[in-house]
């Protein structure tokens, strides 16, 4: 039942009907709602019309004009039904009503839930015109979105740490480092594209009404920027290119370790979301990411430089593994309600908000504690402790996540700060080894 209170929310009230000439006509109106009864007083010039049996649409509309131009705070309520004569004018037998209030359903969410309709329109138009319609955002931005380019920072930082530990131990070949990074980047891009492909196929991304720049996937298939088959080809190509570089490094630097790490990395990257294993759907995605972006990348980058595996490189991989996993963990928070519906039962979907926050604090503490252990165990220079300067930022991240937990759009600054903090902390850790080497510590 429509409440009379709604009338106070809207300045613009009108009624629409189809006139004798077959035109829709909208005129200003005065509406009263009493006990769910909707009566409409018509304006001069339309009072005498016979409305009995006509379908009408009563519109309540509001915007707040902005002094400098434009408007905000949009909301409307539509009541559709059949008119019958009443002393005031007409009474509407309500058949349907719907409303939108951007305070309740923010515009980005409204856009998101409408994307299916848009795709259908584009498909029909494409069939009619014999064209394959894709939203045009430019080749760079399409690539940027499809592969989620900025997330390559999660490969760059652990690669730098592996190479920095090697540098500290007296080994450094910039060309090998570049080759290692390019190979790992290909595999990471393959992971991103495969993740989007399978999350779209398995329903997790389509179920997400409130994606953000950091969560909810790239939406590339959903928006029609890339087809499913193009996506399959793309992630297979990235994995193949990464594997080819890995093979070259294996042949030239040591097959057993590099092939072993590469096989593990590819397994984690592909089966992160690919059936039948779907690690992320079984609460093992965090472990997979922590392992893949921690020990696998750091040890791989280190081995390419040094041709050996050492305890100090393994220890250096632990804080960054935890930190990169924390990017995923925090970004899972806004997705959790939608992922749960789609059966993507990652860690955040399995625990309460309180425990999720406790775990966030524990993970951050573990990352910093394992960093502090490096000089304590004499497995690295004391200069790595410069990474601890980001502890206050981590506390800020915790507070921001705590204050906006699960409120998707409000969490964006917290997610952004978390990523920045992870990248800064990891970079400082890498810098700590280089400075230690330079100072001879």
């Amino acid at each position: 039942m429509i409440s009379a209170n709604v009338l106070q929310e809207f300045e613009q009230v009108s009624v629409s009907f189809v006139d004798e000439d077959g035109y829709p006509v909208t005129v200003p109106a005065k509406v009263r709602i009493e006990d769910g009864r909707v009566t409409v007083e018509l304006p001069e010039g339309f009072k005498g019309l016979t409305f009995a049996g006509r379908k009408v649409n009563v519109t309540f509309n509001h915007i707040t004009p902005i002094p400098g131009g434009g408007y905000t705070d949009r909301r409307y309520l539509m009541i559709r039904g059949t008119a019958r004569p009443a002393p005031e004018g007409i009474e509407v037998d309500v058949e349907k009503s719907y409303r939108w209030d951007e305070k309740e359903v923010p515009f980005p969410e409204y856009v998101e839930v409408s994307s299916v309709r848009a795709r259908r329109y584009l498909e029909r138009l494409g069939l009619r015109l014999g064209l394959d319609f894709k939203p045009r955002i430019g080749a760079f931005w399409a690539f940027f979105r499809v592969v989620r380019l900025p997330f390559l920072i999660a490969t760059a930082v652990p690669t730098a740490i592996g190479a920095s530990v090697a540098y500290y131990n007296g080994f450094f070949d910039p060309l090998l480092l570049l080759l290692t990074f390019v190979g790992l980047a290909f595999i990471h891009l393959g992971l991103n594209v495969a993740n989007d492909y399978f999350d779209t196929k398995l329903g997790a991304d389509p179920a997400n009404r409130r994606p953000t720049p950091f969560s909810g996937g790239s939406r590339a298939i959903i928006y029609g920027l890339i087809s499913e088959s193009e996506s399959r080809t793309l992630f297979a190509s990235f994995f193949a290119a990464g594997s080819a570089i890995g093979m070259y490094l294996a042949i030239t630097r040591g097959p057993l370790v590099i092939l072993g790490l590469m096989a593990l990395g590819l397994f984690l990257a592909y089966f992160y979301t690919a059936p039948p294993i779907k690690l992320a759907y079984r609460g093992m995605g965090e472990l997979a990411v922590g392992t893949g972006f921690g020990p696998v990348i750091v040890l791989g980058a280190y081995f390419v430089q040094t041709q050996k595996l050492t305890l100090d490189a393994l220890l250096a991989s632990i804080p960054i593994g935890i930190l990169i996993m924390l990017i995923l963990y925090v970004n899972e928070i806004p997705d959790a309600p939608f992922d749960k519906v789609a059966g993507k039962m990652h860690l955040v979907t399995r625990i309460s908000k309180e425990n999720a926050l406790r775990l966030l604090a524990v993970f951050y503490a573990a990352a910093y504690a394992s960093t502090a252990l490096i000089p304590v165990l004499r497995l690295g220079p004391p200069t790595v402790l410069i990474a601890l300067v980001t502890i206050p930022t981590a506390v800020r991240v915790y507070r921001m996540v705590s204050g906006t937990f699960g409120i998707q759009y409000a969490m964006i600054p917290a997610m952004a700060l978390n990523i920045r903090n992870v990248a800064t902390t990891g970079s400082l850790l890498a810098a700590g080894y280089v400075i230690g080497a330079i100072l001879g510590l």
């Binding site: 006509v25 200003p28 001069e44 519109t59 559709r80 848009a118 795709r119 940027f144």
Partner: protein, 163 residues
């Protein structure tokens, strides 16, 4: 020939921040869509751009081009010279270039929403939002309430159609 709209109506069309575009759906019932109206004084035509995200109205207009465009509330019209205006006319959809065709209306859009360029720069964030059809309305009849619509008879003006 121009549309011969009265100057005070043209002022509404040029300044209004929101219009109620009413179309006829597949069951021959009216459906109203609040939208940002754009007006080109020379041509006398009213324009809207509609994202393919909200494409239902486009389908309705393709099936039945008869529409009305309603303006009321002084704050929304940004002029107090009239109290309400309803324009009856015929609409046509141009979806031949969804990515860029609507951009010719950007100067008119910018006048009403000066921040639109900032959003457009973020096109990659909402790719489907910026795939837009143009709705062109050629006015045929204008109903103008110069006083309180509940107590003042409106003036009905037949207009000559677009140039």
């Amino acid at each position: 020939m121009g549309a011969q709209l009265p100057p005070e109506v043209e002022e509404v069309l040029e300044n209004a921040l929101v219009a109620l575009l009413t179309t006829i759906d597949e069951r021959s019932e009216p459906v109203t869509h609040p939208m940002l109206p754009l007006y080109e004084r020379g041509s006398g035509k009213i324009y809207f751009t509609s994202s393919v995200l909200f494409s239902r109205k486009l389908e309705y207009i393709k099936s039945n081009p008869k529409v009305s465009v309603h303006f009321s509330v002084e704050e929304f019209m940004r002029t107090g010279k009239v109290k309400a205006v309803t324009v009856k006319g015929r609409a046509a959809i141009d979806d031949s270039n969804l990515s860029e065709g609507w951009m010719r209306l950007l100067p008119l859009w910018r006048r009403k929403e000066p921040y639109i360029d900032a959003y457009l720069k973020q096109r990659f964030a909402f790719p489907l939002f910026w795939e837009r059809a143009v709705i062109e309305v050629v006015p045929e009849e204008v109903v103008v309430w110069r006083g309180d619509p509940m107590s003042t008879r409106p003036e009905v003006i037949k207009v000559g159609g677009g140039s």
